[in-house]
Amino acid sequence: MYIQQGTKEYDVAIVGSGAGGGMAAKVLAESGADVVMLEAGPWFDSEEFAMFKWPYESPRRGASIPEQEFGEFDACYGGFNLEGEPYTTAPGTNFAWFRARMLGGRTNHWGRISLRFGPEDFKARSVDGHGDDWPISYEDIKPYYDRLDREIGIFGTNEGIYNEPGGIFQPPPKPRCYELKVKEACDRMGIPCIPSRLSILTKPLNGRAACHYCSQCNRSCSTHSNFSTPSVLLPPALETGNLEIINHAMVREVLTDGNGRATGLSYVHKPDKKEYQVKARIVVLAASACESARLLLNSKSAQHPNGLANSSDTVGKYLMDSTGTSVAGIFPQLFDMPAHNEDGVGGMHLYMPWWLQQANTDFPRGYHTEIWGGRGMPSYGFMGGIQNYNGMFGDGDGGEREKGGGGYGQQLKEDYRRFYGSVIGFSGRGESIAYEDNYCEIDPDTVDQWGIPVLRFHYNWSEEEYKQVRHMQLTYRELIEEMGGTILGGDMPSREQGYGITAPGQIIHEVGVTRMGEDPSSSVVNEYGQAHDVDNLFVVDGGPFVSQPHKNPTWTILALSMRASEYMVEQRNQGNL
């Protein structure tokens, strides 16, 4: 294959346009650097997507399609299975790898839950002996969180909980009525239930409008009221005139010179399937944690025989995802609810932070709890499986039903009306521990459609994660009973059923595979995401995470990328890069 070599040398080449890459592009372009960004997927404009669409405007009523696993109106193009881009898992292990392929990556998908990592999260080994401490503390990253709050915007409340640091919050939306019901029960049980912290504007900010409460954040937002990089970070970066974005660019490898320094990137341009190279003085990887690790492992050379930046043999190791499980209940107090608008913002208005830091739980680390339910817009899958519960509650007029669940006809039609909006669910998102044995590596036998060797995953939950998820199950079941509801889905899953734990990867919080540290023999990058082995190579996605607290990673990826990118600017100004 001919390789098309560009003659231009950029100051910076960035792989990926998600949270890490978008922030790096903004900071570096605004500093005057000449930046090129390579994105494997297409362009995306949040002003031209599916906001306000009704399900009946599509023949499939919002159902998922292979290219949009969370539904055809969900703004994220991607999924756990991409055609032509396989990955493998080692026998006896399990990992589900979600990949987005579009401008903005998974910032188009996420729930906008933006929880700061707290002081104990950065020093967890010192607290409980598991995993490792980060080379930075909360105080190092706090100024960047503060700036995210001011510049991107977030709502929430300052609650004074030590390891759940507050921020510079816009006012939170009032809870929905069913969320108040949850809070009442939580108060009785001694579980904090507080306003959620989502990067959605409730007041105008920096030229962006406040939320209009259509609840469709997952469809992107045509008024730029929530955060995604194409909506918030890339427009100002492009306005500088210093950022060039190349879409449909699948990066094959990081190029290096005879001294082992990075010189640019080689990529396949999907539309013409030709191989291109871009030259750059600094290479920034933000392709997603595992995709960046894959790139490093595939970038072998005489100077880097074990893969680029991998003299520590740590690239790909310490892979983490959040644990998860869900329990839902149905609540007779919510039957036959008067019709009312319950949309609110896209996501929960209240959540439950971890509350047992000081307690003697039989597992390390904690979890937070997300609340869901309500009278959402009916679409494909609406009230599926009603036969599992409509038999439990009489005929609606105080009488007995002749038969159990299921049915058809007038009674069934009335059941749908009666039970609509009466289910409330709880989803735990917990911290797993970083283990060297949970890792990805290059599968020697398999390549993707462009001939790029793919990843093979090795991942198993440890006993600690099972015990944690058991605690979630017990808590949510008690909570549902406390609220006077009926648990859906039957008995609690057994240990053999993993207590209902999600498969590793399914929570889509994959981090850790290019971890940061002070010691080059046990970590890949330093606290600025700079590779120990290659000074002009940086990783600014979730890869450098040393631990994955139960808090969704995006806000911390943004903060770390801002910090790393400003370090790059400073080093450039000093002539060091």
């Binding site: 009946y56 405007e57 009523r61 409460y213 469709q216 008067p338 009916p378 069934l412």
Partner: protein, 244 residues
């Protein structure tokens, strides 16, 4: 009755009186759902199918009068501009045979009948929606087609004819055996599974239609301000913003 794909039968039929009532499945806000005048040539696929099924109810083995796409309406599109050409092409194809479609039409109307608040499944476009989902999700095809054949086989065994040929009493007697999973007799499991699927597909299609959304009382999908749930709703749930 011989099963023939209805592939080529989407377009206009002469009997416009049966099309006068527009289905509530889509349209209004999508903007492109048009109902033809007498003898017109702009029926939607759904309406054409409805005509067909009503006609076939009375007449077995009718023939179609040919395709009459008009230049101003090259394909039946009840969805508006947002629908992709690929989806529209699929929408204008059919999966079910005429006999299967008629069975689905009757089943979905039994699952969600008309009442004083809204129309039945057919009036909300549910049979056409299910037909589309067979093509869109091929994994549906064997379970649903197989289930329809299981149903016909049971009806022939018990009542001497296919489901659509049974009396209303017989049809109800059949559904009573498969619509209540916990009460179903051993041997009815395939029918229970099939009916669970049909119930779910019917609910998806009905409640996500314009008719269904109005009926169920979903209010939203609009720009608004948010000041919490209504007093009425809070009172119903037994909570108040003052106390919290």
């Amino acid at each position: 009755m011989e099963d023939k794909p209805r592939e080529e039968r989407h377009h206009s039929r002469g009997n416009s009186s049966t099309n006068a009532r527009r289905s509530g499945a889509s349209g209004g806000r999508g903007g492109a759902d048009r109902t033809s005048g007498a003898g017109g040539s702009t029926f939607t696929r759904r309406e054409a199918l409805k005509t067909l099924t009503l006609a076939s109810f009375a007449t077995v083995g009718l023939t179609m009068t040919g395709c009459q796409n008009s230049p101003e309406n090259p394909a039946n599109n009840p969805f508006g501009e947002g629908v992709s050409p690929e989806d529209l092409e699929m929408w204008n194809r059919s999966f079910f045979t005429e006999h299967e479609f008629e069975t689905v039409r009757q089943l979905t109307n039994m699952i969600i009948p008309a009442d004083e608040r809204s129309g039945n499944a057919e009036e909300a476009g549910v049979p056409e929606f299910i037909d589309f989902m067979m093509l869109d999700r091929p994994g549906n095809q064997t379970p649903i087609r197989g289930g329809l054949n299981w149903l016909d086989a049971q009806c022939r065994k018990q009542f001497g004819g296919n489901f659509v040929d049974c009396t209303e009493e017989q049809k109800h007697a059949m559904l009573e055996q498969i619509a209540w999973p916990e009460d179903a007799e051993p041997g009815m499991e395939p029918g229970v599974r099939f009916f669970n699927r049909m119930r779910d597909l019917t609910a998806s299609g009905f409640w996500s239609s314009e008719t269904g959304i109005d009926d169920i009382g979903y209010i939203g999908n609009m720009a608004t301000s948010w000041d919490g749930c209504s007093d009425e709703a809070c009172e119903h749930v037994g909570v108040s913003y003052e106390e919290s």
